[in-house]
């Protein structure tokens, strides 16, 4: 009897262990790419958003006049099949492709482009990105296929900005009809996918546009797309998102998987992990209006005291590279010799600088000067890896006698505090595809108090930044930006920390999904992607 009971128990245990073995195969997705992400977008009106999570949808719902290639340098045709630039660089004439239609069936015309750009620039629209095309003076629809853009001054960045998701071309009829609901309840673009359904904070669904034939040359397939549907599923919890991806039924791709899981997932034959580089910098920025960081020796000491390799390897599992300057090395215009002026990890040098600045070690090891302790309050967002990063920095700076107070806040609160100039030091990141998107924003004196939250003002830097926007000669263009980066690094207004890499994890059934580094979106037009049953 005892033997029998034991046999039944052994059998029950075996069944349980078998059931708990490999997860059962989930039902196949019927030719749909299902993307898992932690939050939802607010809108897909290109003139109302800045979030990365929204911009990646724009590239699939809409088209732009031109596109930026995977190398973040080459501009390729989009809705414009060709363009010419006047000798003075102030007039661009775009010839639109024929046969392009909006999802509603309306043919694309130059008037639609004019409407879109005028709306983007109009202060009444209150677009957060309208300053990107501040140099546009006038947009003219010469005829149905020809758009002329006249600039106030020559610009090296017009085409870059016209390739951004914010420059997605709109159907004026759809926008006017939907009013304030455009971008949430009504969408009409020319893109490879049509808006199908949006259940807020649950899923955003688009369907293949069968008429699409005008995809950019950077994709092998000009259209229609190979997948029938793309679904963005909102799964806020990291563990749940991972379960969905591993099981394979709920989502089949995500770039929001915890780095700690990637070593294990790389070995899973059912999955594929693609690592890719993006133009991004994470940095500490000093507010030069605050006395405690006004001494350049203190700022340089902090630069010398932080071991950036530890940040990349200990916190982010090696997915990235230590930064030496304010620009990502993969972005054109990044100064190749920034290492000549960058600050190496050198705690001894840091201590010497602090001694020289009059900060002497106190009884607890924290330096003191005129009765004041050297405590750096650092403002950062309470997420995205900043708390761990600041904790590591805190321990490294303590080694040289600097104490750190972490001030971690949610995003809405942080922007308010930074705008008020409360911070002495801030930790932040910035995606960029060209020098203007980081150097002009953060280091031109006219951009104080925001986005230049550092109080940085150098007339030479201003001059070079303005020249960089307009100079025609490529060699001179590189020289001016090299000079800006040199002066920024030498001023030690920033501690460039690291350039993060990204990892896109997908089911092995997904093919030909090539992440695009622009604006850190990952997903550009999903024309080449296919999903096996």
């Amino acid at each position: 009897m005892r033997q029998l009971k034991g046999s039944w128990m052994a059998l029950a245990l075996s069944v349980l262990l078998a059931l708990l073995g490999r997860p059962p195969a989930a039902p196949a997705q019927p030719n749909a790419l299902v993307i898992g992400q932690p939050t939802d977008a607010d809108s897909v009106d290109p003139h109302k958003i800045t979030a990365v999570i929204a911009v990646e949808r724009l590239y699939n719902l809409y088209d732009t006049l031109v596109n930026i290639d995977f190398n973040l340098e080459t501009i390729t045709p989009g809705l414009a099949e060709s363009w010419r630039v006047s000798p003075d660089g102030k007039t661009y004439t775009f010839i639109l492709k024929r046969g392009v239609k909006f999802h509603s069936g309306k043919p694309l015309t130059a008037q639609d482009v004019k409407f879109t750009l005028d709306r983007w620039r109009d202060p009444a629209t209150a677009s957060p990105t309208r300053n990107r095309i501040a140099e546009i003076d006038e947009v003219v629809a010469k005829d149905d296929q020809t758009v002329v853009i006249r600039l106030k001054e020559r610009s090296n960045y017009l085409l870059f900005n016209l390739a951004s998701g914010f420059a997605s071309i709109l159907n004026p009829e759809a926008v006017k009809k939907a009013g304030a609901s455009y971008g949430t309840l009504a969408v009409d673009g020319t893109g490879p996918f049509k808006f199908k359904e949006w259940v807020l904070r649950d899923r955003f669904v688009v369907e293949r546009n069968p008429e699409y034939r005008w995809g950019p040359p950077m994709f092998k397939n000009p259209g229609p797309a190979k997948v029938e549907r793309v679904v963005w599923r909102v799964i806020p919890e990291d563990a749940t998102r991972l379960f969905e991806l591993e099981q394979g039924g709920g989502i089949n791709v995500s770039r929001w998987i915890a780095f700690s899981e990637l070593p294990r997932l790389r070995k899973d034959p059912r999955l594929r992990v693609i690592d890719y580089k993006v133009g991004y910098i994470i940095y500490l920025g000093f507010n030069l209006n605050k006395e405690i960081v006004q001494d350049i020796r203190v700022r340089r000491a902090v630069n010398h005291a932080i071991k950036k390799d530890d940040i990349v390897n200990e916190i982010f599992y090696g997915l990235g590279s230590p930064a030496q300057g304010p620009m990502s090395p993969i972005v054109a215009g990044a100064w190749k010799d920034v290492g000549k002026v960058a600050y190496d990890y050198n705690p001894a040098r840091a201590r010497a600088l602090l001694d020289e600045a009059g900060w002497k070690p106190g009884p607890d090891g924290i330096r003191v000067k005129d009765g004041k302790r050297l405590v750096l309050p650092i403002h950062a967002i309470a997420g995205y890896g900043y708390p761990d990063t600041l904790t590591l920095i805190q321990s490294q700076l303590r080694e040289v006698g600097i104490d750190v107070e972490q001030i971690l806040l949610e995003e809405a609160a942080i922007w308010g505090r930074l705008a008020a100039g409360e911070h002495s030091v801030m930790a932040m990141g910035n995606p960029h595809s060209n020098p203007d998107e980081v150097l002009m924003f953060y280091f031109h004196s006219k951009n104080r108090p925001t986005p230049n939250r550092f109080g940085f003002a150098d007339p030479k830097v201003d001059q070079f930044l303005e020249e960089g926007r307009t100079v025609a000669d490529r060699k001179r263009w590189q020289e001016v930006y090299a000079e800006v980066q040199k002066r920024v690094v030498e001023s030690a207004v920033w501690v460039p920390l690291w350039h993060p890499d990204r990892a896109m994890t997908m089911s092995a059934r997904v093919s030909d999904l090539r992440p695009h580094p622009v604006y850190d979106v990952g997903y550009h037009k999903l024309l080449d992607v296919s999903v096996a049953p």
Partner: protein, 313 residues
């Protein structure tokens, strides 16, 4: 009774108004600017100011509240600052999703907790009583996010019996019901311990009363004594707690909703607070306050059904 109900309904107005004013003031006093959330980190100051002006956020707080109140009294709760959707449509869908989840959780937790509590009370000091109360203590101690993740891991990921996350569709569809099971089980499981313990202690108290001794002395069968006489009185405190918990949960079971990607009111409220989406926050507070007040009234009315000695005037 009618007068009582009307009086209670009239009292809801200052309650809801008070909550609305308090929340409005708190939201505007804490640091955070939705215009900057919309503008992003690289927008210049004039662009941020432009957005703020367009949204009416540059007006004095009292003016903003006045405008909001005037619209709300006309039934217009405004538009979300971030999505520009009407607040009523944003909240309506989320609220119904939470109602589904909470009702399902409540039903199964009551079906489990009350019998356990009754049996534990009737078989006091038995092995069942001890085991159930220790299990209840354990259930109270386990964090809900752990329970949820374990439920996903076992029943969805490993065994494949249920979907991992999301709301599969309307409640009357198979997919909708299938997606509801795990989140409802998780939300319900943390309520069972407290309800079981309360039922047990309340029933023990009722069973010690004179009228129960009289009923036994009259020769009534024990199950009849427990179910017909003692239980009705024992349920009064249970009804109160169930009502309060229910009302609270309808404000949003945010942890469960997050774990299971359930698009409910809790997640909406937290997102709105974090992004300072003032109209949406106001709307969620309004609906939570109305729900709380309504359920409390219904609980009080239920007392009359359970205990005829209770009369309201």
């Amino acid at each position: 009774m009618r007068v009582y109900i009307l009086r209670r309904l009239a009292l809801t107005v200052p309650t809801i108004l008070g909550a609305s004013v308090l929340v409005f003031l708190i939201l505007h006093l804490v640091p955070g600017d939705p215009a900057m959330v919309i503008a992003g980190p690289t927008a210049p100051a004039d662009v941020v100011a432009n957005i703020r002006a367009q949204l009416g956020l540059d007006q004095p707080v009292l003016v903003q509240y006045g405008r909001y109140l005037a619209s709300a009294l006309r039934g217009d709760l405004g538009r979300s600052i971030l999505t520009r959707r009407e607040v009523t449509s944003e909240i309506g869908g989320a609220f119904l999703n939470t109602v589904e989840l909470v009702i399902a959780a409540r039903i199964w937790s009551l079906l489990v907790a009350i019998p356990i509590g009754v049996v534990a009370a009737v078989m006091r000091r038995s092995a069942f009583d001890r085991l159930s109360m220790v299990t209840a203590l354990l259930g109270l101690s386990l964090p809900i996010f752990w329970i949820g993740l374990m439920a996903i891991w076992l029943f969805a990921f490993k065994l494949g019996w249920f979907p991992i996350s999301g709301r599969g569709g309307p409640l009357w569809t198979i997919a909708g019901l299938h997606h509801l099971v795990l989140p409802a089980l998780t939300l319900g499981v943390i309520q069972v311990p407290a309800l079981a313990r309360l039922t047990r202690s309340s029933l023990l108290e009722a069973l010690a009363q004179d009228y129960v001794r009289t009923a036994r002395a009259k020769g009534l069968a024990e199950p009849f004594v427990v179910a017909k006489h003692a239980l009705r009185n024992a349920l009064l405190p249970v009804v109160t707690v169930v009502g309060l918990q229910f009302a609270g949960l309808l404000g949003g079971a945010v942890v469960t909703e997050t774990i299971f990607s359930w698009p409910g009111l809790g997640r909406l409220a937290v997102t709105a607070i974090l992004t300072r989406d003032f109209p949406v926050v106001q709307g969620t507070i309004l609906i939570s306050a109305v729900t709380f007040v309504t359920i409390n009234l219904l609980v009080d009315l239920l007392y009359v059904v359970l205990d005829p000695r209770i009369k309201y005037s």
